[in-house]
């Protein structure tokens, strides 16, 4: 038990958990996403890559409605999250999100950062939440930081805390928005390590990243987003070694 980040992540694998149908998003007339459709299955690790400004982050943020789609439908576990009558707060409790800028709460200790949401939203008992938080902290090697404040931590430590803070809600899906882009190079590894373990435990993950090597290593599927549309998607081996479209070839030649 102790060596597992997310015991409950071992849900039946293979069922569609997120379905995106005809997703469009425009910011004041500027079309960022153009009629995107895709499915994400339970236990699948999907990486979204592409050039800057291609709409990767916007796509990810639409999945938990941090951005409201201009049109189209997104289903989470069969529920249309774009429907006005959907309780999005309830659904967001089942989707963890990790941000490029960590977004830890600076006025709370690390322990409080982690226990706030499960105690207030899942009505978890304070002691129970503390115990779970300490278990996760131990797992990511930050037990000694539980009483520290976010501003006392390094970027890599903050991001590991951000990941386990999201895990405290026992999410079914984890969304990663460029989790290592704001880190010093020597701190990238420790964050990727935690993500790698999550992937191994069959957490459903959607990852927006520039870490191509990491994508090749842990992804089940890599999707190439360019100009607001998925140009190509494939298993990582195929994706990196045998790109079909010219645009992907050009992109890979620049980043690899």
């Amino acid at each position: 038990m102790d060596d597992i980040l997310m015991p409950q992540a071992k849900a039946p694998v293979g069922k569609k958990v997120i379905e995106v149908k005809g997703l469009c998003k425009a910011f004041s007339g500027n079309e960022v996403l153009k009629n995107i459709s895709t499915d994400i299955k339970r236990g699948e690790v999907v990486f979204v890559v592409g050039p800057s400004g291609s709409g990767k982050s916007t796509f990810l943020r639409c999945l938990n409605l941090l951005e409201t789609p201009t049109s189209g439908e997104i289903y989470f576990d069969g529920t249309n999250i774009c429907d006005k009558n959907t309780d999005i707060d309830k659904l967001r409790q089942r989707m963890g999100m990790v941000f490029q800028q960590f977004n830890l709460f600076p006025h709370m200790s690390i322990l409080k950062n982690m226990t706030l949401a499960p105690v207030k939203l899942l009505k978890m008992k304070e002691e129970e939440a503390d115990a779970e938080a300490e278990r996760l902290l131990k797992r990511v090697g930050l037990s000694d930081k539980k009483d520290a404040y976010p501003n006392q931590l390094s970027g890599g430590q903050k991001q590991r805390i951000a990941i386990v803070r999201a895990l405290m809600m026992k999410p079914e899906v984890m969304l990663f928005d460029e989790p290592t882009s704001a880190l010093d190079p020597e701190m990238v590894g420790e964050v990727l390590g935690v993500m790698r373990e999550l992937a191994r435990e069959h957490m459903t993950m959607v990852v927006v990243t520039h870490e191509m090597g990491f994508a090749r290593e842990v992804a089940d599927r890599v999707m190439f987003l360019d100009g607001g549309d998925f140009v190509e998607e494939a298993a990582p081996k195929e994706f990196f070694s045998n790109p079909k479209s010219e645009r992907l070839k050009a992109f890979l030649s620049k980043v690899l």
């Binding site: 967001r92 800028q101 977004n103 709460f105 600076p106 207030k120 939203l121």
Partner: protein, 244 residues
């Protein structure tokens, strides 16, 4: 030079002699009646006006920032904007007199209550803008982190945004309260015997402008200094669990 010196001595003797001290402060119990009594009135008006101002300002600040963040509460926001515009666009003395002579026409109305209402409503407008700027100054990532964990807008504001915003605006709030304390000096316009009016009453009885008005000034200064120190300590306490 000698002439100037003797002139100065005469001036000092006229206004600062022990007899003058006796006349201005002891006779008729003037110090306690007008200075201490006036200070008490000033402080009471200020305290209740501050409380009213915080409540009003908090509500208006929340409405305004919620509208800015989410685009909701259009109607309430419009009302708040009218309130801010009217209150900030007119002098507080005029507001006080309108409150007393036009709204509470009845002579039975407690002048203190009228003053508390007028100053509280006035202060609320400034406090609202302080709160709004405090909320808007918190990084949007904090909102998003809260929302992505499953908190609704209200919970996010209560648990995550407000504790940080209040800490940030404390110095500005302190300024507002100091300004409010001093603004109450115009209460004399509706015949409230607060500190300034108290000094003025003594002056009109003794024909000595120096002693009573200097005393009034010193008591304002002491009150403001104490207030500043108290807020400073509160600020320090709040900062303690927020190592940066």
């Amino acid at each position: 030079m000698a002439k100037w010196l003797s002139g100065a001595a005469e001036w000092w003797g006229r206004y600062f002699s022990p007899e003058q001290f006796y006349l201005n402060f002891v006779e008729d119990d003037r110090f306690f009646k007008y200075i201490i009594g006036g200070l008490k009135t000033t402080v009471i008006i200020t305290i209740f006006a501050v409380l009213l101002g915080i409540i009003l300002g908090f509500i208006v600040g929340i409405v305004r920032s919620t509208h800015e963040k989410t685009g909701k509460l259009k109607f309430l926001n419009a009302i708040c904007r009218v309130y801010l515009s009217v209150i900030r666009g007119t002098p507080v003395v005029v507001q006080l007199m309108i409150m007393y002579y036009c709204i509470f026409i009845s002579p039975d109305a407690s002048k203190m209550m009228v003053a508390v209402l007028a100053f509280g409503i006035n202060s609320g407008a400034y406090v609202a803008e302080i709160f709004r700027s405090g909320i808007m100054s918190i990084d949007n990532g904090q909102f998003e982190a809260g929302r992505s964990l499953g908190f609704n807008y209200r919970q996010t504001v209560i648990y995550i945004i407000m504790p940080q915003a209040v800490k940030n605006v404390l110095p500005a709030l302190c300024n507002e309260f100091i300004a409010l304390l001093k603004e109450t000096s115009v209460s004399g316009f509706i015949a409230i015997n607060e500190l300034t009016k108290g000094g003025d009453i003594i002056r009109s009885r003794t024909y000595n402008p120096y002693l009573p008005l200097f005393t009034v000034a010193v008591f304002y200064w002491i009150t403001v200094t104490v207030l500043t120190a108290l807020v400073g300590r509160l600020e320090k306490k709040l900062r303690k669990n927020d190592v940066r």
